[in-house]
Symmetry: C2
Subunit: 491 residues, 2 copies
């Protein structure tokens, strides 16, 4: 009975979280561009306040304690209670006023960022970003931390993740990535430009839908819409909302985004439906979430076998553009290693420089060693230093990503973690079955089943590391990524 | 200060109402068809419960009373307070449990109705409808009434509206409508079928967008989507969501729906933006709301001058279908008086038989003199009796309208009221300016300004009758409708 009470409190919080997600999805995807968005910011703040009220209410706290005192609970039930208790302790560190203030600020900042990006003018966004950074630094103080204040924020996206751990990871990455890139460049042939011809958007939309079908994504339970920055949000395992973005001059941009977000969608579809408010029905961390999206985007879709599968579709929708092209050429082209400006469109190797730059900037912003007014210059200097690029404008530079507008400082490192986890899943699946063969034979549901079995079903009952240990018999191991890359590029 | 407190309570309720509207819009318009909708029903019930809690809270009640005791308030401020006080007395008559139950029931019933309509099987919907009717009868008892229990429900949509009043109106309508129809039929030429050829949907979508532009609807603040049953909902005067529906075999169906809903949209756009939670910023009644939608649909769009305006567009999108057609023929065709099955696609005269039939059925359902199991037969018998039609199936009969699924018993009569009000606005505007000329010259913003000035700006500060009195110097007068029809058909 007590445990049932606890479930009901969790489910009520889940309902409110779903409503908050809808308010935000609608604003980013469907709201008329000229609407005064402040009313939506007010609605979001109201709901965030209600969520916080419930997350910290003494009746919810009592329901957790009563349930913990109950006899005969299963290990999973106890685990849920412990996670909820820990969540509550965290939630109580922030006041309702802080939550509402943050929600209102970030809802409004979204459209400011959108405008700034459209006009390619960091100055438009700077004031909002200053407030956001200030609020995140305040938040770190409320949560408390050992060592670096950034730790408090990193922990929100990847539990247990710290600056000292990530410093070490990015140090390894920096040295080993350099070698990998050198080795690939030594064997890489010239780049052509057939993927950046003109591709009409209506055909891209139709093509993306067909690709989801090829991948056996259950599209009856999804929507795929367009937004400034692709994302995936889930209201229920049977109602997944993914977005992509279409560029008339880059056929692959929308395809990678669609496939990436469908990986997130699959994770959400694989979560338990019953008692959907319990920790057992929520994704365990963003690192693991990104391991899903990046697995499908990179390990699956950037393979020769997958390109072979979609090759007839590319020719069907864009016959003149792909007239004299071979599938092998496309494979080489979509895996061409080359420093570029946009993170989401970059190759699998230089990608991690993009993350490292953001990680360094965030670390400095949170410690107070970098001002928001200096961020653009720092960004541009870093792109020069690590990627050898002169950033031409803010839209292709510091304004390209949505994350800071919603306060997501601490989010970026999970992308690199996700790639490295994905490579580890890839190696593990390959121990018993050939991933290449499964792709060739369109056995995508079989591939998804591995993830469902080893990752999705557990929700938060296992941490990232526990999932990694139980699925692959060891913790995250960067060498899997190295082997995956060396295998793919034959180096 | 007290009045400011009161405003803040109202604004919080408004935010929650906007969230409820989004939950419902999203479910009807964007949710994947296969999603398990019960999670959305749960979310809606939660929000409806929160709204009811606030509408009936003692702190809100105190804020109203304190403000009423405050000196120096304007007449409009006092009026708002009185309306809110009355609303609160009404809200208190229903329990939170009742509200949540009704919300959950009607959210779920929507998809049941959709399925029933798709399969044209009233049996699928019957069980839900029984529960809905039972709940509405219960509601009438909670609210209380004088005379007929239906009065309690009619009052929700058109304040002060009663069975004795509507019986009288429909009695007049029945006799006078018969004469009008006879007189039109005597001069009406043969019907052709060029409006029911095949019209591809993509072109219809583009055409409808252009028509909204012609009408000077501020489309930057709107969306137009597709739904089973067209509707309009507003989240803010700068964020209006309209829907229409496209039929491949009927070019005019989507056009009428789009223009109809844009009339609703204009009313919502014309409401005051500041303190949007106050009664001064809400539409006064559904009758007046329908007077807006039906004014634009019928008095404006079904005119020869408007058909002349869109004629080039029709030819542009459907050159072969409109190859040998004259604008005058289209005008005659879209005003062809003929009994048909579907209310929303019927002509301006027989339309009111559709309403009368629904009114009679609802009256009998609420008094308990008709069972839900008998509704289909009663419906079909009435269509035979009043319109001389054999209803071929439930989709074209008793299942055609969405209203009962959301519990909207008492809603239908406002459509007839709306038409008659619209005719009265039409006559009034024509006293000083020629509506025909304004249409011919595309002076639609000027036409809208009349409505903004005499209707929109007041919100609920004036009742339907007060608006009618101040705009036209008299109460609702059916003879305006008669004159409008006689003028239009030259009879």
């Amino acid at each position: 009975m007590s445990y049932q009470n606890y479930i009901e409190y969790c489910n009520e919080i889940k309902k409110l979280n779903g409503i908050a997600a809808l308010l935000s999805w609608d604003m980013e995807v469907k709201m008329p561009k000229q609407s005064d968005r402040s009313f939506r910011a007010d609605q979001s703040a109201l709901i965030q306040g209600l969520i916080h009220e419930r997350q910290t209410s003494s009746s919810f706290e009592n329901s957790i304690q009563d349930a913990l005192d109950q006899s005969g609970l299963s290990a999973d039930q106890l685990k849920c209670l412990e996670i909820s208790k820990k969540d509550m302790i965290q939630s109580k560190k922030l006041s309702k006023e802080f939550i509402e203030k943050e929600s209102k600020l970030t809802s409004n900042a979204y459209s400011v960022w959108e405008e700034a990006k459209l006009k390619s003018n960091f100055g438009i966004f700077q004031n909002d970003l200053e407030k956001i950074v200030e609020l995140q630094r305040e938040k770190a103080e409320y949560y408390g931390y050992e060592g670096h204040p950034y730790n408090a924020l990193l922990d929100l996206y990847e539990e247990g993740s710290t600056v000292s751990q990530l410093d070490k990871m990015f140090h390894d990455v920096k040295s080993k990535l350099g070698t990998l890139i050198q080795d690939v460049l030594a064997v890489q042939s010239q780049k052509t430009n057939f993927l950046t011809q003109k591709f009409d958007i209506a055909s891209q939309i139709a093509l993306n839908k067909e690709i989801l079908n090829i991948l056996a994504v259950p599209t009856d339970f999804c929507r795929i819409d367009e937004s400034s920055h692709p994302f995936c949000t889930s209201f229920h395992p049977s109602d997944i909302r993914m977005t992509t973005r279409y560029s008339e001059n880059d056929i692959m941009s929308s395809i990678w985004s669609t496939i990436h977000e469908s990986g997130h969608g699959r994770y959400e579809m694989g979560l338990q439906v019953i008692n959907s408010g319990l920790p057992s029905s929520s994704a365990t961390s963003l690192g693991i979430h990104e391991s899903q999206s990046r697995f499908w985007e990179n390990n699956i879709a950037r393979s020769q076998e997958f390109i072979d599968l979609i090759f007839p579709l590319l020719k069907k929708y864009f016959p003149s553009q792909f007239q004299s092209v071979q599938s092998e050429t496309i494979f080489r082209e979509v895996n061409f290693i080359e420093p570029t400006f946009i993170r989401t469109e970059s190759d699998e190797l230089t990608y991690h420089y993009h993350i490292m730059i953001r990680y360094e900037i965030e670390k400095l912003l949170v410690s107070g060693d970098l001002n928001v007014s200096e961020v653009r210059d720092y960004w541009n200097d870093s792109y020069k230093k690590y990627l050898g690029l002169e950033v031409p404008n803010d839209a292709k530079g510091v304004l390209q990503d949505v994350h800071w507008s919603f306060g997501g400082i601490g989010y970026f490192p999970t992308y690199s973690l996700g790639s490295f986890y994905a490579a580890q899943w890839y190696e593990e699946i390959n121990r018993t079955k050939s991933v290449s063969e499964m792709i060739r034979d369109s056995r995508f549901e079989e591939i998804n089943q591995w993830h469902a079995k080893h990752i999705h079903q557990f929700g938060r009952l296992k941490t990232s590391d526990e999932i990694c240990q139980s699925a692959t018999n060891r913790s995250l191991d960067f060498s899997c990524f190295e082997r995956y890359i060396r295998g793919k590029f034959n180096i």
